[in-house]
């Protein structure tokens, strides 16, 4: 069962590389990983409401602690060795511990913790989409590294059999099923990594939001994907490094190629999709390691990302395939030019203050522009002033407002807006007809009535907020020239009941607050 092994010029002494077999396969260990998995399920379950969410998050932390501690004590040499605990009293226990491995691992965790904590503490809430994309890339890269490590040292992962040929050295043969799992793990991990890096660069503004369209990209992408699948199949027959590294390199390339043609407006879908991939990568590695915690988590995260992608696609009335194919928003500025001459009404902060003070109900419609202008705090101040005047204030959130699912809700929560004043599209849309003022700040496409009437519009069929049904629409926009991310002109601007407030969102809201006195 256990014998010394020579691989790539290194001698592996039996029993040196990890804890004894019976400790690692103890049912208690498997049970502990299962408990960790259940903690993760409950962590997501907690998010069904803000009240239970914090407890859920703590459970997630507990689950992670269990998984890490159990792995640590069962795999760092000596910690899990029964002999270590049965040595006669009085012997120097500390001298028996593999301090090098222990300290290296603790140092690695401490370094990661320091970076993670600092980032989490400093990051502005408006930058959450970038942060999440960056975090996805780390999961992807970690999955790639683990898969490579498993490939280089399969014995440590318990996925290889030692074969002693008639002539020559004994060598490790990786179990063919594990090779598929490993291949999938490295491929999905690499796609997650390079895709997330591009998504990060686009969200962070280091790279333009406009889609980059390579000629023949569909053919190239399909070809590369087919090659990856074929190579993973071939990998089961030939475990040579060339095959493994080609899979890795091609997967990095396809992640990059898949995301560059996707425009800024589709980033909520991309971020959700990459979230899903990071889960599938973890699940694939869980299969390799026969680890229930990883498999359960991978399935949860994979499902979560997939559902979020579906919700985002539905909110844009687009198929997942068309989003992935990319190019949306590239054919902009058609129809915008002749529309610019149409008459529209301009209002001032004083007009807006007057209209809202007289109103019975005001519904605020925030969008990505609010995040860019950092106007959420000023907005809440305005709402507070209005409430003092006896006005009922509500917020209406479109599912794709912002750059990631739930982005607006977080920003409003940051500005101390109570969450019971914030409503989803389907819950609030019927109310616009009985509302005096709809206050649109930084949103555009999600309010465009053309989505309901104009069959030639690229956003036709997309569910939109019925703001035009309100008695008056106040629409904050920097200038009349620009179009939304879909590249279409908004019918709303030219309606009789719309008043355009042309200014920076934050400045305009501050002026309104001043005018409210």
């Amino acid at each position: 069962m256990c014998q010394d092994l020579l691989l790539n010029g290194t001698i592996y002494h039996c029993g040196m590389d990890s804890a004894p077999e019976e400790v690692r396969t103890s049912p208690w260990i498997a049970l502990a990983y299962l408990v960790a998995g259940i903690c993760f399920i409950l962590a997501l379950r907690g998010l069904s409401g803000p009240a239970s969410s914090r407890r859920g998050n703590r459970l997630g932390m507990i689950g992670m602690t269990i998984a890490v501690v159990v792995t640590f004590i069962t795999h760092v040499p000596t910690w899990a060795d029964p002999e270590f605990y049965s040595v006669p009293y009085g012997r120097d226990y500390l001298a028996l511990i593999d301090w090098t491995a222990t300290l290296e691992i603790l140092a690695a965790i401490a370094l990661g913790a320091a970076i993670g904590f600092t980032t989490a503490k400093r990051i502005a809430m408006t930058a959450m989409p970038q942060l999440v994309a960056a975090f996805h890339s780390l999961v992807g890269l970690a999955a790639v590294l683990v898969a490579i490590a498993a490939y280089l040292n399969p014995q440590a992962f318990g996925i290889a059999d030692l074969v002693t040929p008639m002539i020559g050295q004994p060598f490790a043969v990786i179990d063919p099923v594990s090779r598929v799992e490993m291949g999938l793990g490295v491929a999905i991990g690499a796609i997650t990594f390079s895709g997330s890096v591009i998504a990060f660069l686009k969200l962070n503004g280091n790279m333009g939001g406009k889609p980059i369209l390579l000629p023949g990209r569909h053919v190239i992408n399909m070809g590369v994907l087919a090659a990856i699948v074929a190579l993973i199949a071939y990998f089961t027959r030939d475990q040579s490094p060339a095959v493994f590294w080609t899979i890795t390199v091609l997967s990095f390339a396809i992640g990059f190629l898949l995301i560059i043609p996707i425009g800024g407006a589709d980033m909520p879908v991309v971020v959700s999709m990459l979230n899903s991939y990071s889960g599938w990568a973890a699940a694939a590695m869980g299969f390799t390691l026969h680890n229930t915690a990883m498999i359960i988590t991978g399935a949860l995260v994979g499902a979560s990302g997939a559902i979020l992608s579906y919700i985002m696609c539905r909110a844009m009335n687009r198929s997942f395939i068309s989003v992935i194919a990319g190019g949306f928003g590239a054919v902009a500025d058609t129809g915008g030019s002749q529309a610019i001459d149409r008459p529209w009404k301009r209002g001032s902060a004083e007009d807006a203050a007057f209209l809202m003070r007289e109103a019975e109900q005001v519904i605020i419609v925030p969008g990505y522009g609010m995040a860019v202008a950092q106007a959420q705090h000023a907005l809440r101040e305005m709402a507070d002033r209005l409430k003092e005047e006896g006005v009922r204030v509500k917020y209406a959130i479109h599912p794709v407002a912002g750059r990631m699912p739930g982005h607006m809700n977080v920003l409003l929560a940051e500005a101390n807006v109570p969450y019971d004043e914030v409503f989803e599209l389907e819950d609030v849309n019927a109310e616009f007809a009985q509302t005096d003022v709809a206050f649109v700040i930084g949103a555009n496409d999600v309010t465009n009535p053309a989505a309901k009437t104009d069959k030639s519009s690229p956003i036709y069929g997309m569910p939109v907020l019925d703001v035009e049904k309100a008695k008056t629409v106040l629409f904050i926009k920097r200038s009349m020239g620009g179009v939304g991310y879909a590249g279409v002109d908004n019918e709303l601007f030219y309606r009789d009941n719309t008043m355009m407030l042309l200014a920076d969102a934050k400045k305009m809201v501050e002026e309104i607050v001043k005018a409210l006195g």
Partner: protein
């Protein structure tokens, strides 16, 4: 564990994930992404195994690097989720 047993766990977990995620309120979709990010870093289990194993130095260093990356995600992900969730308040709270 044999492959079918693992596959069964995986498939059932997918169903659990499906129903649990649909029950998440849309207002918490951003924290959901942050926390799924943190928990998918359970891949640290694989990283620890690689880092703890002696024998192949290359695999060991890759493992340690993966431990760092996954730790950034775990600590950063849970911390930023905690920070966001603390901001959600009811009227008058």
């Amino acid at each position: 564990m044999d492959f079918i047993a693992i596959l069964s766990i995986f498939v059932l977990a997918c169903f659990v994930g499906y129903f649990v995620v649909w029950s998440v309120t849309p207002a918490l979709h951003t924290p959901l992404m942050a926390v799924t990010n943190a928990i998918s870093s359970v891949i640290i289990v694989g990283a620890l195994i690689a880092a703890a194993a002696a024998g192949a130095p290359g695999a060991k260093w890759l493992g340690l690097l993966a431990v760092v990356l996954a730790s950034v995600n775990i600590f950063g992900g849970f911390a930023v989720t905690e920070r966001m969730l603390a901001m959600y308040k009811k009227k008058g709270q």
